[in-house]
């Protein structure tokens, strides 16, 4: 989440039942490292529901994150409140991703 949260920042994390687009969450990556990225939406595959996340400055969306790997929602510390603009931007990014995914499926079928 650099430059908002530089590497090595200390943050507070609170587990939640539901995460909404725009929330910044901490989770463990498949390689065991800790990551803090923003939630864009949800993704369902054969192993269940997962979160779609992305770093604010990253060029691409992360692989979907299993809910069992989410530590919680980040707040406090160097992080400020999530603004409405950030939430709208997360939703817009998720809709773009979903549209691309739908387009790919249609292209494969045809």
């Amino acid at each position: 989440m650099a430059p908002v949260l530089p590497d090595g920042s200390t943050v507070e994390v609170t587990p939640r039942k539901i995460y909404v687009p725009g929330d910044v969450i901490a989770f463990t990556a498949p390689n065991g490292s800790l990551r803090v990225h923003r939630v864009l939406g949800y993704h369902r595959d054969r192993s269940g529901w997962k979160l779609v996340t992305k770093g604010d400055n990253a060029a691409w969306i992360d692989p979907p994150v299993g809910l069992n790997r989410v530590l919680g929602c980040v707040h406090g510390g160097a992080y400020h409140r999530v603004s409405l603009r950030q939430r709208c931007s997360a939703v817009a990014m998720y809709l773009r991703k979903s549209a691309r995914s739908l387009w790919r499926r249609l292209a494969r079928r045809s």
């Binding site: 390689n31 192993s47 400055n57 990253a58 969306i61 692989p63 299993g66 991703k97 691309r100």
Partner: protein
């Protein structure tokens, strides 16, 4: 420790040839840094997640000559060792051979061969899309490094900044300060190509830097396929002051070689990699950039301003 013991239950059963049961029939072709990679044997979910990850690098599935084929196969969960990942630093185990390279990693067995052209195969038990993406990306890094080497280019662990349409390369291994430098550069409104890996290629005696899809948290430009001429190599050193000091060619070569993953340990292909890096190091000025965490890259600013004058 012999090859694969850390990751595989039976390393002696490592596949001898590129064959096996594919995950599915899906195909994906990606293109970056002047090379194409055709990935086949993917399942539907795997294709979806890889397509999202490499969206801006996808191209139509055509088969031009020189394309690298990578086939994905199913492997049993019992083939791989399980161990706690907390505090574990991700790495791969590579076995260099004259005919190719064997790769073992977390839920990953990979084989890279030079039969007629470069071709790869992966065996994994990673069903979850996130775990599969990790396997895919880590093997692709190895394949890309060898494919680039064939065309006198290399992936270098580095941050790269673009200032006045020229690239400055900051090679450094993990913890050297690449992300810190990138953060300071973004604050200075400089374009960051990547804070993790960049492709450096030699064309007509000039080195160019290009973004690859292995950027870290920086590298916001979704796809910058443009090559930027290399203006300077700056080894990183964190200290309380901001200075730029000259670096000799042998030292610059040493820094570059230590930051060139996979091939720098390959006894069969290291010489070629070294010759590419020698040419890059000898043709470009190299410095040691000392910067502080709270600094504003004042020394680098002065250096680039001097160049402009």
């Amino acid at each position: 420790m012999s090859f694969g013991c850390e990751f595989l239950n039976c390393p002696e059963l490592f596949p001898a040839r590129r064959a096996g049961e594919p995950w599915g029939n899906e195909l994906l072709t990606i293109d970056f840094a002047g090379a194409r990679y055709q990935c086949s044997g993917l399942g539907h979910d795997q294709l979806e997640v890889i397509s999202d990850r490499f969206e801006s690098y996808r191209v139509k599935d055509v088969t031009p000559p020189g394309q690298v084929e990578i086939r994905f196969h199913h492997a049993g969960e019992n083939d791989f060792r399980r161990f706690p990942l907390r505090g574990w630093d991700y790495h791969l185990d590579l076995d260099y051979q004259p005919y190719g390279v064997r790769v073992a990693g977390l839920e990953l067995m990979g084989l890279l061969e030079w039969r007629s052209d470069l071709a790869g195969a992966v065996w994994t038990s990673a069903l979850d899309s996130d775990r599969f993406c990790e396997v895919f990306e880590n093997f692709l890094r190895v394949v890309a490094q060898y494919r680039l080497l064939a065309s006198r280019a290399l992936l270098v662990h580095s941050a790269a900044l673009v200032i006045d349409d020229e690239a400055y390369l900051f090679p450094g291994r993990s913890g050297a300060g690449k992300s810190t430098l990138s953060r300071l550069a973004v604050a200075n409104h400089w374009q960051v190509l990547s804070d993790e890996l960049n492709a450096v290629s030699l064309r007509g005696g000039t080195a160019y830097v290009q973004q690859v899809p292995f950027a870290g948290d920086f590298g916001r430009t979704s796809r910058s396929n443009q090559s930027f001429p290399l203006a300077g190599i700056l080894a990183l050193k964190q200290a309380a002051t901001d200075t730029v000091d000259p670096l000799s060619v042998p030292h610059a070569l040493g820094v570059l070689l230590s930051c060139t993953p996979f091939v720098n340990l390959d006894p069969f292909r290291r010489e070629r990699a070294q010759s590419v890096l020698e040419q890059i190091a000898s043709q470009h000025v190299a410095y040691v950039l000392t910067f502080s965490l709270a600094g504003e890259l004042a020394a680098l600013d002065r250096l680039t301003a001097k160049k402009r004058v």
